[in-house]
């Protein structure tokens, strides 16, 4: 296919170089650290699950026990392995004993590290095998059922009740949805743990729990079988418990995870270091599990203006991509985010959207793009809103987007009702089918509005990335260069969970992942 836009190769190269140096810098700053969330994840891979009487998840209980003793710098796995050898109890029993106050990991005699490592490594290997099993199962099922044509129709469910969510998801799948995301309850990202079990209450969304993942997976596989199409399941790998969610998703065969390098920092005021460390680790898990991540650049445009700040989105895409690659994610797993958020009153706004979508398409030809619908400029006028979503769908099919999060005509009013979603799917199917090959048919004029817009945004992107490279990403965030939001390096939630690794830090899961991913 002929390139529809001319991309200035020089500018593109400058962007890539700057992004590379930004990512390398971040990597070098986080390498020496672990976090409580990372450690909890390792503990989970050993088979600890469930909650205490006070509903505190046992992985938290375990890690808290080591942290309290100030000995997390060796890695929780070390202490836990030691306890397993010493007590000859199962991981679950050990965790329960700690919870009851009968055991403290760091007060046991220390065994030989080799012995510990042998035991723990083999335990972890079981979990790693499980993940591989999920990945294989996905491959098999996708071959058997097929995936729908792209752009894939991505819908959200958000009733707060997992059983209601499933019902709505099944209905959506039958109507043509390819991907279902369960939106999380409003405050979950700030929880420094993962809730447990099936949940039936939540605000604006449903808690992400392992059991909820399982229920949805099972239900979607059932409906997939029925309709002969594999339905992809999505959740959020973000917030203070990010890597734990990653492992849960990997085991329960989620297919995509919202997972952005900066979202938590900017939009949830989570500490930067904490975020980058958790990010790196969780992305390795996603990578290994064959999960596609969805980055969240769309969010910038909810606080910044989409016309003025378009380049910040592209800059962030370059950065997200470089960081993701450093976690072993393959390009086809990096679902870079962007959005259709220009004020609908802007003359030729559609042209600007097409310019952006097409440019991003050409800049990242091997990444699946996650395209977000108009949200900020949606109003109570559901009829106009449906049209805004229609143009969004058209821009998508014209520019070859891949993961199409469907807009809802009631975006400004409430989380989607059953029929809102049905109308959205109808909208996308109608537009996609009616303009299926429009993208192949047209070429953009050399010096037209679209080409010029793309040129402008790309050159602003290069300038911005070079500035960020200069300052370092953390410094750039401090200065509010993304989404107009500024966060300090030492501020934000979860900073107390960042721990400097000791010389003898041991993380069996990290090691096995690195090995498996060849990084």
């Amino acid at each position: 296919m002929q390139e529809k836009l001319k991309i200035d190769k020089q500018l593109e190269k400058r962007c890539r170089n700057a992004a590379r140096s930004i990512a390398d810098d971040i990597q070098s700053r986080i390498e020496g650290y672990t976090t409580t969330a990372v450690e909890r994840t390792v503990i989970r891979t050993l088979g600890v699950d469930g909650v205490s009487n006070e509903e505190i998840p046992l992985p938290n209980v375990v890690v808290e026990d080591v942290k309290r003793a100030g000995k997390l710098d060796k890695g929780a796995a070390y202490w836990f392995g030691n306890a397993m050898l010493e007590t000859e109890k199962s991981p679950q029993e050990i965790a329960e004993a700690i919870d009851r106050g009968e055991l403290s990991l760091t007060s046991l005699p220390e065994r030989n590290f080799k012995e510990i490592k042998q035991l723990i490594d083999s335990r972890v290997a079981e979990t790693v095998n499980k993940i591989e099993g999920s990945r294989e199962a996905r491959k098999d099922l996708q071959e058997r059922f097929n995936l729908g044509p792209k752009p894939w129709l991505y819908v959200i469910v958000a009733t707060g009740n997992i059983y209601e969510d499933l019902r709505q998801a099944r209905a959506a799948a039958r109507e043509g949805a390819d991907i279902v995301a369960v939106i999380r309850s409003t405050a979950q990202s700030l929880l420094d743990y993962v809730p447990y079990g099936a949940t039936t209450e939540g605000f604006g969304g449903t808690y992400a729990t392992q059991e909820n993942f399982r229920i949805m997976r099972e239900g979607l596989d059932e409906v997939g079988e029925e309709i002969g199409r594999y339905i992809q399941l999505v959740n959020y790998c973000s917030g203070l418990a990010m890597p734990e969610i990653a492992i849960m998703g990997a085991v329960e065969r989620l297919d995509m995870m919202l997972n952005d390098a900066m979202y938590g920092i900017l939009f949830r005021d989570i500490n930067m270091k904490r975020t980058f460390i958790d990010q790196y680790f969780s992305r390795m898990i996603n990578s290994y599990a064959g999960i596609i991540i969805n980055t969240g650049e769309d969010n910038y445009l909810t606080t910044a203006d989409a016309k003025e700040e378009a380049h910040t989105v592209v800059a962030s895409q370059f950065i997200n991509r470089e960081l993701a690659i450093r976690s072993g994610l393959k390009p086809e797993q990096i679902g870079l985010g962007h959005a259709f958020e220009i004020d609908p009153d802007v003359e030729d706004g559609f042209l600007l959207e097409v310019a952006q979508a097409q440019m991003v398409r050409q800049l990242f030809p091997d990444c699946p793009l996650k395209y977000m619908p108009p949200t900020k400029h949606m109003t109570g006028d559901i009829f106009k809103g449906h049209l805004q979503d229609g143009l969004f769908n058209l821009a998508s099919v014209m520019t070859g987007q891949e993961i199409q999060l469907l807009g809802m005509l009631t975006e400004a009013i409430h989380t989607p009702f059953l029929h809102d979603r049905a109308l959205s799917i109808e909208n996308a199917r109608y537009i996609f089918n009616n303009a299926r090959h429009l993208g192949d048919e047209i070429v953009f004029k050399q010096d037209g509005i679209i080409q010029k817009r793309a040129d402008k945004v790309l050159s602003e992107t290069a300038i911005m990335l070079e500035e960020v490279a200069e300052k370092g990403l953390m410094g750039a965030i401090e200065e509010g260069m993304f989404a107009g939001i500024s966060r300090t390096i030492s501020g934000g939630k979860g900073v107390e969970g960042v721990i400097k690794k000791g010389e003898d830090y041991y993380n069996p899961f990290l090691d096995q992942l690195k090995e498996g991913l060849n990084i």
């Binding site: 958000a158 009740n161 209601e164 109003t379 109570g380 006028d381 009013i413 989380t415 009702f417 059953l418």
Partner: protein, 261 residues
Amino acid sequence: MDDNKKRIKPYGDTLNDGKVQMSFTLPLQAGPEASEAGKMLAEQMGLEEVDVVDIKDLGEGFCYLILYGKVKYSVDRSQVRITRVEMETMSYYEVNDFIRNKIGRKVVVVGACTGSDAHTVGLDAIMNMKGYAGEYGLERYPEIETYNLGSQVPNEVLIKKAIKVDADAILVSQVVTQKGAHVTNLTELVEMIEAEGLRERFILVVGGPRISHELALEIGFDAGFGRGTIPPEVASYIVQKINEREGDSNGSYDQIEDGSK
């Protein structure tokens, strides 16, 4: 059947939450007064937690409101009565066999778009050779003789033709319904036929996108067919009705009030 299932209520995202979307124009300028008036109206309609999500001034002292709310009413499923044309839908072949075996003569059908109505596509869909939705039209049925008089046919002309060809059934199409045009037209036809004492002689069928069987009965027709009707349905109804009137009357194919569950 448990009580919960018996009472039907609208659903948004939680069973029986009663969520309803509504829109209408009020003869008021857009503003807080109109918004409140819209809310009050919705409340009279049994809506709770009414939310006027959009209000747009339309000029000339009018405004348009879009609102959401929760309706407090519900419908008892056991009380839902459907008035529908009761018959067994047969295929093209079955209908022709039925005529050959049970009626034993050709069935004659006259159709028209009456009054000022010129929408012939619907009637043609039922009557013409080509048919509709992959189904042959009545003209194609070897055992049915059809006369399609086309558009804007006065009622007198239609009746005269039906008498002349000794029709079994008269098919009327009515598409324009604005200000009740169809009701006037259809009532006139029935009255004229009754005045001539011919009501029992013809099976009277009406069709159109805004026609329901219920309305057809009210007006004095034998059956009404709405949106998406296919020719074999109409053929099946006619032949069964003829058989019922003339023949071994071994079943009732007429309207039945049934409380389905």
